[in-house]
Amino acid sequence: MQNSGINVILQEKNMQRLIFEGLFVTIEIAFISIIIGSILGILIGLSRTTKSKVILFINRVYLEAFRIIPTLVWLFIFYFGVTTALNIDLSGEVVSIIVFSLWGAAEMGDIVRGALQSLPQHQIESGKALGLNYFQLYRYVLIPQAIRRMIPGTINLATRMIKTTSLVVLIGVIDVVKIGQQIIETSRFEFPTASFWIYGCIFFLYFIICYPLSKISKNLEAKWSN
């Protein structure tokens, strides 16, 4: 019996699985990675204001490594390489979180550094002229302004991370893409056109998560550029 394809997504069980099992894993990985990445990233970003050439060099290599080597390759490096080298067994989810956190930290570090460096010099000078010490300067003058400048970049990074989590299906994680594939498999007789509708549905799921985020980021940027 062949049904009209669109019904495959209307089958309640399928949507439920897609969203609550699949999307949940996707968002979970992205979310945890963003948190860890942000914390690490802020530390890294602050460390880049140092004068030490060694630290700057290490930071630079670290950032470029994640920028030149594709994320999927990093996932493979950790999933196959690190696990073999250290002789341990890591699940796809753990590997994903490690890789994404490291990537997020590198990018966040650059965002933080960029925000701090873009602060106008005269702000620092007038702060000092008012008698603020190092910590007060950071707390009342620099950090509030730096945070403003960081937010569009951070939201943009979060959006990119959410999109990239789609790759974790390729190292065996059961995320929204995998569940979609499972549904397609099991529906082959009942809904032969399932792949069209399921992938289309997943497409829109990602869209309704990422689009609002990028809109918010654009609005904030526009609002704050004045």
Partner: protein
Amino acid sequence: MSFDWNFVVTNLPLYEKAAWLTLKLAIAGIALSLVIGLLCSVILYFKIKVLDIVVQAYIELSRNTPLLIQIFFLYFGLPKLGLKMSESACAIIGLAFLGGSYMAESFRSGIEAVSKTQIESGVSIGLSKIQVVRYVIIPQAFSISMPSLSANCIFLLKETSILGAISIMDLTNLTKDLIGMYYTTFEALTMLVVIYLIMILPLSFVLSLVERKVRYAEFGN
């Protein structure tokens, strides 16, 4: 831990073949996305009715969804509607679909950065709107958006790594296969990383040279 050099030597031809395939697909995707991007940004600049809304929808849809899903949709989904394409075609179309919107964004900010007074200057010597776009805006917009355009090129080259998901024997997929067959994890991954570095570092360097030359020609700094 010893390094299996034999593995490297034996499989170098395979890696070379995969690298060429990766490059060919990337270049085709990049070329197509530049054309799409330029077209979109011109449509947006002239505010052509109906088409401009289509372009805006296209940009939002392609930028807010992962390439993997776009390619799965092209390769697994569309055949169900009777539209079957080869893996390479799907790859190139997928790359161009995503790349086109990135390039459009780059061109758009380049176009917007051309100052209003430059446009007035063109208008005041009698150039028509199309002539202003052709002689004043596009040359300047292009050099302003060079950094962004080259970043996009590198981005698209990196995205080819996911093409293994539709059975294209690119570098990453080859590595995964070889690891599965020979368990030479370290050697295979090393070769993979080295080849990516060989492809991307020089490209990045050449692009930044071109960028610098173009900016100097424009702005002398």
